[in-house]
């Protein structure tokens, strides 16, 4: 019995193969099949500034035409779609990821959250001014927190990443582990607002309220995935560079 299991349990090659055996996308798959099968990847396209209308071109062809690193693109897509990490994290390019993450920040702060605010505010027309106010206060305070969170990344973390990716080898006080240890989940407080409204909102639910709640739900999922890209792709890639500088 033990002979049978030990081979499977402790053979690293086996573990590696099982990780990468399901539904992952590769260079030769068409971009259109990726998007048609996973519509949520539309957001990834817009953040990498890749345009639609690519016919049956492969993912690699489309990425190359748009000046996007294909390996980095596939790492993001496969993490989000199949929850798997790339085979070689050294091949993920931090600078390509930064472009994606910055676009993603812009999407949340300038587009998505203001859009939800508008919908939520419309949806609260059926309730009292007081309840409407405390709910909007929650939302505004939440957005303030998101802006601080993303502002820190844009003014401290991303410039640091750009610096160590360049030839700048001077000693840095900052370290990607500082970011890793302090990276909070910003999706949870948004999701909590949805739960509070679902459990305690006293007025009836109108079309715009169901719409607003659904948007809050999908936005908090999207924020969680955004953080996942930072934690699982950006941090390890930057760590590798830090290690190579030390050597």
């Amino acid at each position: 019995m033990s002979n049978f299991t030990s081979e499977i349990d402790f053979n690293p090659q086996y573990i590696k193969e099982t990780m990468y055996s399901t539904g992952r996308y590769s260079y030769e798959d068409t971009m259109s099949s990726l998007i048609c099968e996973n519509p949520s990847m539309l957001l990834v396209l817009s953040r990498f500034a890749i345009t639609l209308g690519q016919g049956d071109k492969t993912i690699d062809e489309v990425c190359v035409a748009h000046g996007v690193d294909t390996y980095t693109f596939l790492s993001v897509v496969n993490l989000l779609v199949t929850d798997t990490l790339p085979d070689d994290q050294n091949k993920v390019l931090p600078l390509s990821l930064l472009k994606y993450l910055e676009k993603s920040h812009e999407y949340f702060i300038s587009y998505r959250l203001p859009d939800i605010r508008r919908k939520l505010s419309d949806a609260l027309c059926d309730t009292t001014a007081v309840i409407s106010k405390v709910i909007m206060d929650y939302f505004d305070e939440y957005v303030k927190g998101v802006k601080e969170h993303m502002g820190y990344e844009e003014t401290v973390v991303f410039p640091y990443v750009r610096k160590i990716c360049g030839d700048d080898t001077e000693l840095n006080k900052y370290h990607i582990d500082i970011f890793k240890d302090h990276h909070d989940n910003i999706d949870e407080l948004l999701s909590e607002l949805k739960d509070i409204i679902i459990k305690y909102y006293p007025a009836g639910i109108n079309f715009s309220m169901s719409d607003a709640l659904f948007d809050i739900y999908s936005c908090s999922e999207d924020l969680a995935l955004h953080a996942k890209v930072e934690d699982m792709l950006l941090v390890p890639a930057v760590k590798n560079i830090e290690l190579s500088h030390k050597r």
Partner: protein
């Protein structure tokens, strides 16, 4: 509203992982969100970010005494750890786990085991807020610090902290702004009592 149970299935075996998570996802009565961890070396980190209620782990991947140290490592003392048995295993090893699932259990048996495991938790979260907890919510919403609340209600700061933790877990609300909505909707407090704290902002 029944709280959803967060279950994580950790096993390098694709068949076991996908099989178990499919079984869990199909049990709509269980109301479970399921995540999978294929890479055991990455398990602690993933658990810390997912914060599940239940971890189902291949027994061969977690040593006999590892349950306690895993809980301590990821700072989740109440995590339920369920052994997935795919081979003959020493009963003394199984005893360290909160429950065990065999490869040959039917899905009904598996569901019952998870439900039983979660029962104490669910009962606890159904408890109503006490008068004291309601008083504390009002103080928090008025913008008082833990120290001020302790002085006003003649409690130790430590007791106030404990109450606040219990309130957060009973209501699943972890922010002052959230407690404000709760307090207003449930008429624990009137707007003019908190005008100062909410108009000025933090």
């Amino acid at each position: 509203m029944k709280r959803r149970i967060h279950i994580v299935v950790a096993s390098p075996s694709h068949v076991i992982r996908v099989g178990l998570s499919t079984i869990f996802k199909k049990m709509s009565s269980l109301g479970a969100d399921v995540a999978e961890i294929p890479d055991m070396t990455d398990m602690s980190r993933r658990l810390r970010s997912i914060k599940p209620d239940v971890l189902v782990v291949d027994v061969s991947q977690l040593g006999a005494l590892a349950c306690q140290s895993l809980r301590a490592d990821i700072a989740m003392p109440s995590l339920k750890i369920v052994a997935m048995l795919s081979q003959m295993t020493d009963a003394a090893v199984i005893k360290n786990f909160d429950a065990s699932i065999s490869l040959y259990d039917s899905s009904d048996v598996i569901r019952d085991k998870i439900v039983r495991l979660m029962e104490e938790e669910v009962d606890e979260s159904r408890l109503e807020l006490s008068m004291r907890e309601k008083e504390i919510i009002c103080c928090v919403v008025k913008g008082m610090t833990n120290k001020q609340i302790a002085d006003t209600l003649c409690l130790s700061a430590h007791t106030v902290m404990t109450h606040r933790r219990n309130i957060a877990s009973k209501l699943s609300i972890h922010s002052t702004a959230g407690l404000t909505i709760y307090a207003i909707v449930n008429k624990l407090i009137e707007l003019d009592e908190i005008k100062d704290s909410i108009y000025v902002g933090e």
